[in-house]
Symmetry: C2
Subunit: 315 residues, 2 copies
């Protein structure tokens, strides 16, 4: 079994590839919930939704978030009535937020309602939030400490980042379904999807049980670099790295993750960094990591899985 | 000043006419909230919305509820995910439910959020819910006692009606803004719009302060019959009357309202009932009450207002 840690867009794209390569009983997705928030009375889980929508084939490939063939009449009517429209909620997208909010209010856990929704979307692989506890990414910036969506969407990532805090992480517990998988002894490798290291992967690793499980691991951890050619394919990862004084390259990401990753998959554009990364004590493969279509996601997933198998069999 | 009591469609249509005849400081709408309910986590006020949408010119003239140029992508996505779709919520319509629900959850009263929404819709006349308290119409039927929307929408008014109960009416208080109007001494007449006597008007009159105010009134009450030619133009009023052993005619409605109405406006199709209604001790005018377009609403409103003025000046 492979456990894949995923954030939003990049994570979701690799998820599609992985899901087509491995059957449901051999692949579990653990998804970031640090950027979840309550907005307009709805419980919103952007990364869970992006992973679900993408796996279900109903995601918006252009924006990377929300649903395909979306309409915006709710948002438009809300704006006309003076409501908040900085966080765009499409008409179809609302269905998930309404059902999730209702379930949480009835005391159903986030992992359970995610399981129900994923099943209704026809998703066969387990998609599990990293925690059912409220764990919220806070961004320390030159404009003060901001809630993640305030920084990310409302302010369009403009404030200069000084650091991050994962509020609630100390008390956060993993969902029992994930706990069972972690302690099953069946995990042969973990894959860190090409997601933002600071606000997608770090929140997952901030959950104490996950962090300890990863530290004591006997399986290899393979990561796909979210930085290609010195830029993030999507999102503010490179900008954050620069602001935090890190080198905005695949090598910078490797150094950031340090000992929590054993082996790296980097893009062919970054082939020149291979030796520097190997000097950090990491195994490296170089391949095309830009998942511009489903075929490329599958291709990359195949490379990642065979890399993981090779590493796991060596142990 | 005229106070108009209104339910849904018929009430909203006369409201449009009245609003074009009388300025805001001389006309107040008091709207039924007995069929309000919580659904999918939203606080829904169907009659308030119908009155607001119709006054704002954004109502759906065909259905009589919801908004014009509506889309249904939320509902469709919700249905695909196994959510409840028996109560149809349009994409644009949702904006009002979301804003109202948020406001109520923040402790803002229904009358206050209604005022805010009506203002944003450009409505100048006060639109006031009959109460800010939870007062819910319950329908006693051969299938047991049902919540109003369960009877009305989910079961399509099919169960046989045995009676009604207005749960919470004893403790219900009128909003302070309405209380000020009631005690201002400026009300010269009340108009009962052509709304269902059992489930639109009776709930309003079940609010103790409104009932007592109407009983001790020194102003005339003029009602427009919701029954025309032995049928309701919209909704289950005639069916309810039959099931309750009342004559489903304008005369039946007159008898139902009894002493709470002084004067009646009936349709020309019911001209033959004029003398029978007069024998009940009521003043009657006969006119075209079928408000098939805005012009007809205005025409009827003019008749009602001049009737009210004549009656008020006689006192």
């Amino acid at each position: 079994m492979i456990v894949a840690l995923a954030g939003g867009v990049g994570g979701a794209r690799l998820a599609v590839g992985l899901a087509s390569v491995l059957p449901p009983q051999r692949l579990t997705f653990v998804v970031n919930t640090g950027d979840d928030f309550e907005h307009l009375g709805f419980a919103i889980s952007p990364d869970l939704d992006t992973v679900m929508y993408t796996l279900a084939g109903v995601g918006n490939a252009v924006t990377g978030w929300g649903r395909a063939q979306e309409t915006w009449n709710f948002m438009s009517a809300l704006g006309q009535l003076g409501g908040e429209t900085w966080f765009r909620l499409g008409d179809r997208d609302l269905a998930v937020h309404v059902l999730r909010t209702l379930a949480l209010r009835r005391g159903i856990s986030l992992s359970e309602i995610t399981r129900v929704l994923a099943t209704r979307f026809g998703i066969k692989h387990p998609v599990i939030p990293m925690t059912d506890s409220p764990l919220r990414t806070r961004v320390r910036t030159d404009c003060g400490e901001l809630a993640f969506q305030d920084y990310f969407v409302r302010r369009g990532c403009r404030p200069r980042v000084q650091g991050f805090r994962f509020a609630g992480s100390r008390k956060a517990r993993v969902p029992s379904v994930l706990q069972r998988i972690m302690h099953s002894g069946e995990v042969r490798a973990a894959v860190i999807c090409p997601s933002n290291p600071y606000v997608s992967i770090a929140p997952i690793l901030s959950v104490p049980e996950i962090r300890h499980w990863m530290k004591r691991r006997t399986f290899p951890v393979i990561a796909v670099s979210p930085i290609v050619g010195g830029a993030a394919l999507k999102g503010p990862a490179a900008k954050m790295m620069r602001e935090l004084g890190a080198e905005p390259t695949a090598l910078g990401v490797v150094r950031h993750h340090g000992s929590s990753v054993d082996a790296w998959v980097i893009d062919q554009q970054d082939a020149k960094l291979q030796h520097a990364i190997e000097r950090e004590g990491k195994l490296v493969i170089v391949t095309d990591t830009v998942m511009s279509d489903r075929g490329k996601s599958v291709q990359l997933a195949k490379r990642v899985v065979s890399f993981a198998r090779a590493l796991a069999s060596e142990r």
